[in-house]
Symmetry: C2
Subunit: 376 residues, 2 copies
């Protein structure tokens, strides 16, 4: 790749005591570090910035290459020169979240008060807290208004939350494959994953740093996750009943089918790349999130002037389209300028990461229109 | 209840060595015991018998009451005087399966060769093996032809398997909420449940009898199961975001939401009522099952003369209707007399146990027609 597409993760630390971040729960947290990356150039008017939010186990490395890496960032198909989030035109920022384990303050960070990793002594954080921390980063970068904010899955929730929380700072937002509050099924799937982790004796009530990791619990939680990220059809097309390195089934409890081996492999590698406690904290934050907080969703969007493009995928059963349609209805009732597209695809929830063509065109066109009005 | 609706489980043991049951894998198993119950009276011509198959964690106690019990059998809403499987007219037999833990020979049984529980030394069994064992029971009862055979989920597979394996012995069959081979997603969901059990240190490679049980692993596997047995909508209607004994969320990792507590409760009680190894064996049998064995499904039904009523449920995402529709198409190509009904319901896969009204009428009417032709 060209040297201009090499990127390094940056770190921003803020809110040193006594100016801690006051969390939604009332607990104070500080100092807070956020890992982030940027792609493209901020223009002189600082009017071309777009904030990208990642999904549950994502990180700040959304695009380009880290020196020596074999693969680019997780949304490199969407972010780059001439791509949907065009780095020739826009200044793209992707920030990691608090509670995570990819360079930002989270349960695996050292608690300055005790010099030990927080573990379960880390305060429970919410989507609102994650967004509040990222607002500090945007302020730090001297950016007063964002041209857009976008993300899939949890990232989509964060885009919606930003629009509500900082209504004057966001010209547009592109929430993808998301909803506005977790349903019973979404909470249930997360709770199973959490119970799988907490059932692992190595989890040890969150104090496993420097010891054996809760690998088995993490593997089971990841296997569940992968099933929910794909669709029934995409699993069938990819695996069907294909056998794994065998001509016939073994009549034993080894992995007979490719889909079993695939999930086991993905499960086993998960503990190497993600912190178990972070998984607990972030999944819980998702479950707590409710944009309406029990009140009328139409009321919620009353003061919002942001222009929206909302994208869903037909085969996404984890975040089904009807949830976004409810958001669209509430926005329309407030005369908010919103476009809603449900893309036909068999890739399930993962579509926002893989179903690039339809999505790219939509995003590119939408951003061009927003930019025409904003960037003089 | 009336004394006539008290029932006791019976036991039938067959195939003492050297006449063991030869399993599909080639392994010999014996002696084999099956637990079973009967309801109603076998007529003199022995022409009014209906065989009921249960689902994965079911048992022979399909209807009526065990003396002193608070609840009747698992399909009591469908089986009884004047009900769909009318015990005033028909002789209903429900047999447990080999591999199970409800009175039939399975991994928790004592291996006569070693005087120890089999554990993982129990041979892997298949749906075909379960059905073959039940054929011994029907022979033992002196029944040459069955008026019908029916079951939901795994029970539906067994009804289909019986029709193929013993084509002259079955006048009709009613497979409900089932398919003809497990898809990648169905295998994947089972494999996660198995991994959850096998990850529990108490599982101890299957040798936990008389010791601490793999309760945590069983709980996680059951939580996954419950999510798949319900629909997204039925979970939302039952639980939504209701809190569990709290006015507001706790901002901790206790159960905040009712759906979390419900699943945890159901998970925790599972190990008390079901054997972990049986769960492994039976789920694996389901995954191995493929009525077509890779060949053309139309060919499979070539010699079948059984009359079918096939029922599915709109919200059943674990065994979606399209799978049964494929079976119906293959049957129709063979001029088999098949009625197919997809019942509109929000109860998901569990519908066959709870959505009784529409199902009862269909089954009752279908059986009356079959009986008219068969019972002189």
């Amino acid at each position: 790749m060209s040297p201009s597409r090499i990127v390094e993760t940056q770190y921003f630390t803020f809110a040193h005591p006594p100016q801690e971040l006051i969390l939604k729960s009332g607990v104070k947290l500080g100092p807070v570090t956020l890992a982030y990356e940027t792609y493209g150039k901020l223009n002189a008017a600082k009017s071309n910035a777009i904030l990208i939010f990642h999904a549950l186990t994502g990180d700040a490395h959304a695009a380009f290459w880290h020196q020596g890496d074999k693969n680019p960032g997780w949304w490199d198909l969407m972010i780059g020169p001439g791509k949907a989030f065009d780095t020739d035109k826009y200044f793209i920022i992707c920030s990691n979240i608090i509670g995570g384990c990819k360079g930002s303050t989270g349960p695996s960070s050292v608690n300055p008060a005790t010099k030990e990793p927080y573990g379960l002594r880390f305060p429970v954080i919410t989507i609102e807290d994650m967004v509040a921390a990222q607002k500090h980063l945007i302020d730090h970068l001297g950016i007063k208004t964002l041209l857009s904010a976008s993300g899939g899955s949890m990232g989509g929730l964060m885009a919606l939350e930003w629009a509500l929380r900082y209504p004057g700072t966001l010209h547009s937002a592109i929430p993808i494959a998301t909803n506005y509050k977790h349903t019973a099924q979404q909470i249930a799937l997360h709770e199973v994953a959490r119970q799988a982790i907490m059932s692992d004796p190595n989890w040890n009530k969150g104090d496993y740093y420097g010891k054996a990791l809760p690998a088995q619990g993490m593997a089971v939680s990841r296997m569940i996750g992968h099933i929910t990220y794909m669709s029934e059809r995409s699993m069938e097309e990819k695996f069907g009943r294909k056998l794994q390195g065998k001509e016939k089934v073994g009549y034993d409890f080894s992995q007979d089918f490719e889909v079993e081996s695939y999930l086991k492999y993905r499960g086993a590698s998960f503990v190497q790349r993600f912190d178990a406690n972070s998984y607990l904290y972030i999944s819980k934050a998702l479950d707590y999130f409710d944009l309406s907080e029990g009140s009328d969703l139409v009321e919620v969007f009353k003061n919002v002037k942001t222009k929206f493009l909302i994208i869903t995928f037909t085969s996404d059963w984890l975040y089904p389209s009807y949830q976004s349609k409810d958001v669209v209805k509430a926005m329309k009732a407030n005369d908010i300028d919103v476009s809603f597209i449900e893309i036909e695809t068999s890739y399930g929830h993962d579509s926002f990461l893989v179903e690039i063509e339809g999505q790219s065109k939509l995003v590119s066109h939408f951003l061009s229109n927003v930019a025409k009005a904003v960037i003089k």
